[in-house]
Amino acid sequence: MNVLQQVPRNALMWIIISLFALVAPHIGRLPIWVLAVYVIAVVWRLQVHRGRWSFPGRWVKVAMTTSGFVGIYASYGTLVGLEPTVALLLTAFALKFIELSQRKDAYVLLFLGYFICITEFLFSQDLLITLYSVINVLLVTTALVALHQPGLDQFNRGTMRLAGVMLLQAVPLMVVLFFVFPRFGPLWTVPIKSHAAKTGMSDFMKPGDVASLSQSDEVAFRVKFDGEIPEKSALYWRGLVFSRLEQDVWSGLGYYDVPLEEQRPDEVAISGQPLRYSVIMESTQQNWLYGLRYARARSPGVMHSSDFRMMSPAPLESEYLYRVESWTDVPVDLDLSDWRRKTETKLPPQGNNRTRELALELRESAGSDEAFVEQVLEKFNSEDYVYTLQPGRLTGSNPIDDFLFQARRGFCEHYASAFVFMMRAADVPARVVAGYQGGEINPLNKTVIVHQFDAHAWAEVWLENRGWVRVDPTSAVSPLRIEMGLEEAMASEGSFLAAAPLSPLRYRSIPLLNQLRLRYDALTYRWQSWVVGFDSEQQFDLLHTLFGEISTRVFATLLLGSWALVLVPVAISLFFKRDTYPVSPLDKYYRLFCDRMAELGLIRGPGETPGHFAQRAVEALPGFADELRRITGLYNDLAYAGVKDKDELAQFTRAVSRFRPDRRRGLLEEDTTL
């Protein structure tokens, strides 16, 4: 083993620190035994370092690698997917550490460390995670530097300084590259998907689903309006449409449920100024996107369905930014196709018979569909219906009957579901719509923060000459919910975020905490819109506003200019260090003189006096005899008698500066003199 290639103790310590720092943010996703592998690996390697144990043999290594694979497979049930792959990578990272003996092993290990930082970003690009990852990168870089400081046998914190300095020097160029590097779509589809369950809407709804979502204080998405933020009660973020009721579960229509000729959304005659806004969705692992009806996406790649939903072609694996235009007042679907009418009035053949009877009764007395809608809402409003997060379970075979006539306690999905059921029972086309309602307005940056507890379900009814009309039965029961939000609606019940006592949202009444929370959220928004959500469109806008017309010349200038701007100061800080031995101007110029002579092959030997050297030089280059003698004479005077006045020194420096010896001329004049 080559001694010079060994890993210094200092580096070993830094590698161990990075090892644990890198695995830390993954802990929640890892089986516990992987952590045990880390501890064993570090203990083993330290014992090797102390000379007590030896490196694992080949068969031990094979056995460990195999059991790593088997263990991951046993823990996840698969080796495909993001989590198992990362777990494999992390296990390999620990095992590789055991056999770390030479520098080249350390390179592999540390570069793998950088890659592990990247895998963390695939799970979260949160601001805090990013700050933590910066520390990780610093640690890995420090270990890399420590690897090249032989002879440091003690743990040395100073190593971190250089790593930090280098990373800081790298930041400005990184920023330029980040904003300039072209963003294009994936080169190939990435097969691995995260299997982690996400809080959020699902593509079916049964009573109790939305209520349970209301226990979460996670952010669903953030919205930034180009102009004024509309009234909170108008913010119905439409995401899913449930047109089918089967076995008490509402679900949306699948792709193949819709006939081909019905798949294209109808032309909507738009008029007036639209609301313009951009939405940054948190990752949902689902396809649907939210918007205010009638919404049209401005971002490329967003699809629109025939029931006026927006969808992303791929499930949202990470934060996703899209821009929308909404015309909230235009009617949609003025002409209802036969298929659509049939679908939107369909009910299971039997069950909930009391509700059906009541619906037919009310429709008959109302006279028109519109009056019928009013009557049903009036019923919810006037009778003793309760809007609650704790409705109790309805287990009977006729849940809507049970709800309407007995329990009379329910959350939004109960009212929406009962309402649509009644509409359909009376042959009025209607459907359940799920999404979010309202949101918290952050006064700091004028964004609307929509939390999971803003989840809501309401109804759409098709009326002659008006098309699909939004009807929210919940507003008939609890107007406070729509105008103020869930917290106020549940104030008397005290059930708001009952399961999350530590949620900062519960302490909105404390101004300082609330201010901090909103400030952090504003920062998160900025982070998401500028860094996480930065895309080709933003890139184009940014470069266009900064540089106008975007050409290759602008690009090249930008890149080269930023390189110069960044690297020149770095070079200056590196090369303009103080001299170990400050040289007087006298010596400096004499050295310059010697250098000029050396170029001609006349090298002043160690211990050779200037006089001696000059004599030798005169013999070799008689043509310069006068100048050589003059310079040497001046130097000797100044050096031994001391520099008395500046003129003398200036005379000397001038003589040296002007002295441009040339071998040919030196010899030539010798020839002519002979």
Binding site: Q149, L173, L574, F575, T580
Partner: protein, 345 residues
């Protein structure tokens, strides 16, 4: 001649690049041209201060590997459309660029000075002593020094402004041994870039003839008047002490006495107090040059060991009988350089 001031300085050896001159293949020619270019760019000198003319820098093998890792990261960033992965990839790529300056700065401003080359016998290791010195107040780490075929070493310049480096190298042929160009290399701080220089320190080790034992000197010339040629085998009878004089061999210093606190004294022996020997070229008639020199060399060592005075007579060289380390080295040097040209002396 203007270069004759340096006793250690060897003549420009015409045979040094002999092999290259004969090699007319493309590789040989390329190598010759490269050497020529290198000689112009980094000319031989006793002392070299490294600047941009003398320092070469390229990504190391690790750097290439790191570049591949960066590509993988970039592909991951593109495929997952993950902006922070982009950011990290760019940060590391820029780190690579910044490291260029830091790696270069690790060699820049260093002064390498030839100190000494230990004379050696063929087959032995000669020791080259080189001084590495910094001119700016910055830390230099992991400076790797090696001549082709020599031992290797790695030094830091952190607490000291200069460090002496010893490098060992096996020698084989009598005469001046030229180690070629010294490689000074560093990959500090990240190992991604290799920064190096080849310097010709103009440092030469003297290689003595290989000593070959002969049973006895065929005709020993002494400077006693009777011209007796008998070999002096007298056991080194201890004669007495005298005060130490400058030039006395350290081996003869009476260390025990010195340790006891007495003044420094030299032990005297009868044998060399009385006789001295001439080691003469003509003592080995009918032998080849190298063989004669080898035998003479052997006897120099023998007499030096016995502490008997000896002189040397070679064609054109005469060194009077004397004793001591300096004398021995002078005699051995004459033997080493015999027939190798004038400038060696």
């Amino acid at each position: 001649m203007w270069m004759s001031w340096d006793a250690e300085r060897a003549p420009v050896d015409a045979t040094q690049y002999d092999f290259d001159q004969r090699d007319t293949s493309l590789r040989g020619q390329l190598r010759r041209r490269f050497r020529g270019w290198l000689n112009r760019r980094v000319p031989p000198a006793r002392e070299v201060t490294l600047d941009q003319r003398r320092i070469f820098i390229l990504p190391s093998r690790t750097g290439v590997f790191f570049g591949c890792c960066l590509l993988v990261m970039l592909v991951a960033a593109i495929n997952f459309e993950n902006n922070l992965s982009y950011a990290l990839t760019f940060l590391l790529a820029t780190l690579f660029v910044v490291a260029t300056l830091h790696t270069y700065a690790n060699l820049s401003g260093l002064t390498i000075r030839a100190m000494r080359a230990q004379p050696a016998f063929p087959g032995q290791q000669t020791e080259f002593l080189v001084m590495v010195e910094r001119s700016k107040q910055r830390d230099h780490y992991a400076l790797y020094l090696k001549w082709s075929g020599s031992s290797e070493t790695m030094v830091n310049l952190v607490d000291a402004d200069r460090v002496k480096v010893q490098l060992h190298m096996q020698v084989d042929k009598r005469g001046w041994f030229r180690p070629g160009r010294l490689l000074l290399e560093s990959t500090y701080p990240l190992g991604l870039l290799r920064c190096w220089t080849w310097i010709d320190l103009d440092l030469h080790a003297l290689v003595y003839p290989r000593p070959i034992a002969s049973a006895e000197l065929p005709g020993l010339a002494t400077d006693t008047p009777d011209g007796a040629a008998a070999m002096v085998m007298g056991n080194d009878d201890f004669y007495g002490f005298r005060d130490y004089r400058k030039g006395d061999s350290l081996r003869q210093v009476h260390w025990k006495g010195l340790a006891k606190g007495q003044s420094i004294q030299t032990k005297q022996y009868t044998a060399y107090a009385d006789r001295s020997v001439w080691l003469d070229w003509e003592l080995f008639p009918g032998m080849g040059v190298e063989q004669r020199l080898s035998h003479l060399c052997y006897w120099v060592l023998v007499f030096d060991e016995r502490r008997e005075e000896y002189g040397l007579r070679l064609p054109g060289v005469t060194i009077g009988p004397a004793l001591g380390e300096k004398h021995r080295e002078q005699v051995l040097k004459e033997l080493a350089l015999f027939g190798k040209g004038e400038a060696g002396r």
